[in-house]
Amino acid sequence: MADRNQLFLGISGLLFLVNLYLIFFYAPTEQVMGNIQRLFYLHLPTVWVGFLAFFIVFVSSIAYLLKRDPVWDRRAYAAGEAGVVFLTVAIVTGAVWAKPVWGVWWIWDPKLTTTFILWVIYIGYMMVRAYAPSGERGARWAAVVGIVGFVDVPIVYYASELWRSLHPELVTGPFAETGGLEAAMRTTLYFSLFAFTLVFVYLFRERFAQQRDDDTLAELRRAAG
C-alpha cells in the first residue's frame, strides 16, 4: 500500500509538472482578461475536487453510521480534510481572479455562496472531531454533520438563486460562456482536472494510511498496557 502510494505521488507529481507547462505555455492567452484567466485552470479543478471530496464524506458517513466499520470513518476523514484544503485554494484563486475581472473580490452569486457555506460546514466537521471527548464519538458526530451538511447544499443553492432574483446582480462571469472555450484551452482544463483529481487521490490514500497506522498504534499501546 505504502509503496503503491509512492508511485501515486510520483505520477501525480509528473502530471502536475506537465499541467503547469500546459497552463503557462501551451494554453493561449485569453484576449479580454489576459494572463489572469490562467487561474481558471487552477480554480475549476479545485472546486471540482472539493465537491467530489464532500460527496465522498457524505457517502462514507452514511456507510459508517450503518456499518460502524472504522474504514468508512477513515475514508470520510481523509476526504474531508483534503476537501477543506482544495476548497480553500478554490475560494482564494476565485477571489484573486474576480478582483481584476469583476472589479470586486467577492459577489453573492449562488455558486460563491454555496461554495462558501460548504467550506464553513466542513470546517465545523473537522472541529467536531477535534473537540469530541473520544475518537469513536467524534467519528459518529462528524458523520452526522457530514450528512446534514451535504443535504443542505442544494437548498442553499436554491435559496441563493431566489435571493438573486430579488436583488439582481449586474455581473455575469465568463463561466456562463464556457461553451465557447477554445480547443487548446479545453485540453488544458481537462488535463488540469485529471491532474488535480490524481493529487487528491494521493492525499486521500496517504491520509487514510496514516489514520489506519494511528489506530493500529493506539491499539498496540492499549494491548501493551
Binding site: I121, G124, V145, D152, S160, L162, W163, L166
Partner: protein, 224 residues
C-alpha cells in the same frame, strides 16, 4: 405510535414544567434579545428610511442569535445534572426524546419571538402583526429547531460546547434565514401572498427534509 407520542410529550412537559418554575431560559434569552435590538440602534442611525431597508434584518438577526442562546441550553442542563443518562435509560426510542426536545426548543423560541413583537414596534416602528409573518416565523422556527436540537446535542458534549453550536448551526440554516428575511421584507412592504410563495415553499421543504434527517441522525448522536 401512541407510545412514541406520549413519551415525546412526557419529555416536552418535563421541560415546560421546569421552565415554568424557573423561567431561567426565557428570561435570560429575552433580555439578550432586547439588548440585541437595542444595540442595533447604535450600529447605524435608525431613521425611518434606514429601518425600511434593514428592519427585516434586525428582526431576524435578533431572533437567530437568541435562538442559538436558547438552543445551547437545551442539552446543557441535561448534561450537567445527568438527566440525559436517565432519559437514555428509559425504555423509549431516541426519536421520542428528539421530538420532545424539539418541541421544547420551538416553544422557547416562539415565546421569545412573540414577546419581541411589541419591542420592535416601540423601538423601530416595525409592525409584525401580520398573518404571513406569523406563518413565516413559525415555519422558520421549526427549521431552526430541527437542525438546532440535533447540533445542540452534539455541541453540549464536546469540549468547545457553546462555541461549536453556532459554527455548525448558522451555515446550515442560512436558507431559512434568507427566506425569513425575504418574507418579512415583503410583509413590511405590504406585498401580496403570491410574492412570498416560493420562499414559503423553500422553508417548508427545508423543515420536512431536516425533520426527517435530524430525527434519524439523532439516534446516532445519543448513543453510548
Amino acid at each position: 405510535m401512541s407510545a412514541y407520542l406520549s413519551a415525546a410529550l412526557a419529555v416536552y412537559l418535563k421541560d415546560v414544567r421546569l421552565e415554568a418554575r424557573s423561567k431561567e431560559t426565557v428570561g435570560a434569552v429575552l433580555i439578550f434579545a432586547l439588548l440585541v435590538a437595542f444595540i442595533f440602534n447604535f450600529a447605524f442611525d435608525a431613521t425611518p428610511d434606514i429601518v425600511a431597508i434593514v428592519g427585516p434584518g434586525i428582526v431576524w438577526v435578533a431572533y437567530v442569535f437568541t435562538g442559538i442562546l436558547g438552543l445551547n441550553r437545551t442539552f446543557v442542563l441535561e448534561r450537567d445534572r445527568g438527566t440525559l443518562d436517565g432519559l437514555m435509560l428509559a425504555p423509549v426510542g431516541r426519536e421520542a426524546i428528539y421530538l420532545g426536545k424539539l418541541l421544547s426548543a420551538i416553544s422557547v423560541m416562539l415565546v421569545v419571538e412573540f414577546l419581541m413583537v411589541p419591542v420592535f414596534l416601540v423601538l423601530y416602528d416595525i409592525s409584525l402583526l401580520d398573518l404571513r409573518f406569523a406563518l413565516a416565523a413559525l415555519l422558520a422556527t421549526i427549521g431552526f429547531a430541527a437542525v438546532g436540537t440535533l447540533f445542540s446535542a452534539i455541541a453540549a458534549h464536546t469540549r468547545a460546547r457553546e462555541v461549536l453550536l453556532p459554527l455548525l448551526f448558522l451555515p446550515v440554516v442560512l436558507p431559512v434565514i434568507m427566506a425569513a428575511v425575504a418574507i418579512t421584507a415583503l410583509v413590511l412592504e405590504g406585498d401580496g401572498w403570491s410574492a412570498a410563495t416560493s420562499w414559503l415553499q423553500l422553508v417548508v421543504a427545508f423543515d420536512i427534509v431536516f425533520l426527517v434527517v435530524s430525527s434519524w441522525a439523532f439516534e446516532f448522536v445519543l448513543e453510548e
